[in-house]
C-alpha cells in the first residue's frame, strides 16, 4: 500500500497525459483531463512552497543564536521573507511597499547578478579557452570567429567575419544542437518510462 498506491497514482496521471498528447482529437476526454491534471500540478506545487519556507526557517532559525557571529544574515533573510509576504498578500501588489521591494530591491539585485555574467565570461576566457588539443582548438577558433563576426569592429577588419559567424551558427551549430536534442529526447523517454513503470522509485524512499 505504501509503495503501490503512489506508484499507481504516478502511472495513472502519466498515462492520461500521454493519451491526451497522442490522441488529442480521438480521445477528447483524455485531452481535457491532461489539461486539467497539468493545472492541478500547478496547485499542488504551490503548496510545496510551504515546504521550502519551512526548510529556510529551520536552517536559518537554527543560526539565530548569538553564539553565531553571522546571526544577522539569517535574521535579514527571515525578515525580508516576512516583509515580502506581508507586502504581497496583506498590503497588496499595488502597494508602495511591494513596488519598492520588487522594483528597487529584488529586480536590481537580479539585474546586477545577471550582469556579473560578462565578468565571469571574461575570466573563463582567460583561464579555460586554451588550445590544449584539437577539440579545444576548434572550440576556441569558432568562438573567436563569432565574436569578431558579431561586432562592428570585426566587420571593419573584414566583411568575411560576419559571413563566417553566420555560417558557424547556421551549419555546425544547428547540426550539433540537433544531435543533442535527438539524444536527449531518447534519454527523456527512457527516464520517463522508468518512472511511470515504477522501475525507478527512489523518490518513494528506497529502491
Amino acid at each position: 500500500m505504501r509503495r503501490e498506491l503512489p506508484m499507481l497514482v504516478a502511472g495513472l496521471s502519466g498515462l492520461i497525459v500521454l493519451l491526451g498528447f497522442f490522441f488529442e482529437n480521438l480521445l477528447p476526454w483524455a485531452f481535457n483531463w491532461s489539461k486539467e491534471l497539468t493545472a492541478w500540478g500547478t496547485i499542488v506545487s504551490a503548496f510545496a512552497m510551504g515546504l521550502a519556507a519551512a526548510n529556510l526557517i529551520l536552517i536559518h532559525g537554527k543560526r539565530l543564536t548569538f553564539k553565531n557571529p553571522n546571526w544577522y544574515n539569517s535574521a535579514a533573510l527571515l525578515l525580508s521573507m516576512a516583509l515580502m509576504v506581508y507586502a504581497g498578500i496583506f498590503a497588496g501588489q499595488k502597494s508602495y511597499l511591494w513596488k519598492l521591494l520588487f522594483d528597487n530591491l529584488m529586480a536590481p539585485l537580479g539585474n546586477a547578478m545577471f550582469s556579473l555574467l560578462i565578468f565571469f565570461i571574461a575570466s573563463a576566457s582567460f583561464r579555460a579557452f586554451r588550445a590544449r588539443n584539437v577539440e579545444a582548438t576548434i572550440l576556441l577558433i569558432a568562438g573567436v570567429l563569432v565574436l569578431l563576426g558579431r561586432a562592428p569592429v570585426g566587420e571593419m577588419i573584414s566583411s568575411y567575419f560576419p559571413v563566417g559567424a553566420d555560417w558557424l551558427m547556421n551549419v555546425p551549430n544547428v547540426a550539433g544542437n540537433r544531435a543533442i536534442l535527438i539524444g536527449a529526447a531518447v534519454g527523456t523517454v527512457a527516464t520517463g518510462l522508468r518512472l511511470l513503470l515504477g522501475i525507478d522509485r527512489s523518490y518513494l524512499g528506497g529502491e
Binding site: W40, T42, S45, D103, E135, I138, L147, N177, L181, G192
Partner: protein, 197 residues
C-alpha cells in the same frame, strides 16, 4: 546625482552585488541573504495566489473537483508527522507522473521534428555538412556500441562538430551579456549619478 530613496536602495543593492567581483565579503553575503529572503517571499506570494486563484476561488464557484489537488497539496505536509509520513508520497507521485509524461512529449518536438528537419537534399556543401554533422554527432552519443573503427571515427568527427557548435554559441552569447552590463552601467551612471547624458 539622484536624491530618490528608491534609486539609492537599488544602487546600493547593485553595488553590493558588484563588490563580489573584488572579493567575497560581508556586504555581499548580507545582500545575498536579503535576496534569498525576498525571493522566497515572492515565491510564497505567488504560491498563495496560485492556490487562491486557481484552486480556492474556482472551487467555491462550483468547480468542486479542485478539492482533489487542494487536498493533495495539503498532504505534502504529512511528511512532518512520522506515523503517516508515507502519505506525502501521494502528491509527489502525482507530480512525478505528470512531469515524466510531460517531458516525454519531447518525442515530437525534439525527436520527430528534428529528424524531419534534417531530411534535406544533398544539394549544397552546407546541406551535406548539416546531415553528416548531425549523424556523426549522434554517433558520439552511442554508449553501448562495440568499439569499432566506424563508430570511433564517427564519434570523433561528431565531437569536432559539437565543439564548433559550442564555440560559436559561446561567442554569440557574449553580445547579449554585454548588453546587460551596459544596462547596469546606464542605471548607475545615468539614473543614479548622472555622469552619462
Amino acid at each position: 546625482m539622484s536624491w530618490e530613496f528608491a534609486t539609492w536602495l537599488a544602487a546600493i543593492a547593485t553595488l553590493a552585488i558588484y563588490s563580489f567581483l573584488y572579493s567575497p565579503n560581508k556586504i555581499f553575503t548580507f545582500f545575498e541573504h536579503v535576496y534569498v529572503g525576498v525571493g522566497a517571499g515572492y515565491g510564497i506570494v505567488f504560491g498563495y495566489n496560485a492556490i487562491v486563484r486557481q484552486g480556492w476561488e474556482p472551487m467555491l464557484k462550483g468547480k468542486w473537483i479542485l478539492i482533489i489537488p487542494m487536498i493533495l497539496g495539503l498532504l505534502l505536509f504529512t511528511r512532518f508527522i512520522k506515523s503517516i509520513s508515507w502519505v506525502s508520497r501521494l502528491p509527489l507521485a502525482f507530480l512525478v507522473g505528470l512531469g515524466a509524461a510531460l517531458s516525454m512529449k519531447a518525442i515530437e518536438s525534439d525527436f520527430l521534428v528534428q529528424i524531419r528537419a534534417t531530411m534535406i537534399p544533398w544539394s549544397s556543401l552546407n546541406n551535406i555538412l548539416l546531415v553528416l554533422g548531425t549523424v556523426t554527432a549522434l554517433t558520439y552519443f552511442f554508449f553501448t556500441f562495440p568499439d569499432s573503427k566506424v563508430v570511433r571515427s564517427g564519434a570523433l568527427a561528431g565531437r569536432w562538430f559539437l565543439m564548433a557548435a559550442f564555440g560559436a554559441a559561446f561567442g554569440n552569447a557574449v553580445m547579449g551579456r554585454i548588453s546587460l552590463l551596459i544596462g547596469e552601467l546606464q542605471f548607475l551612471f545615468k539614473d543614479w549619478i548622472h555622469l552619462i547624458h
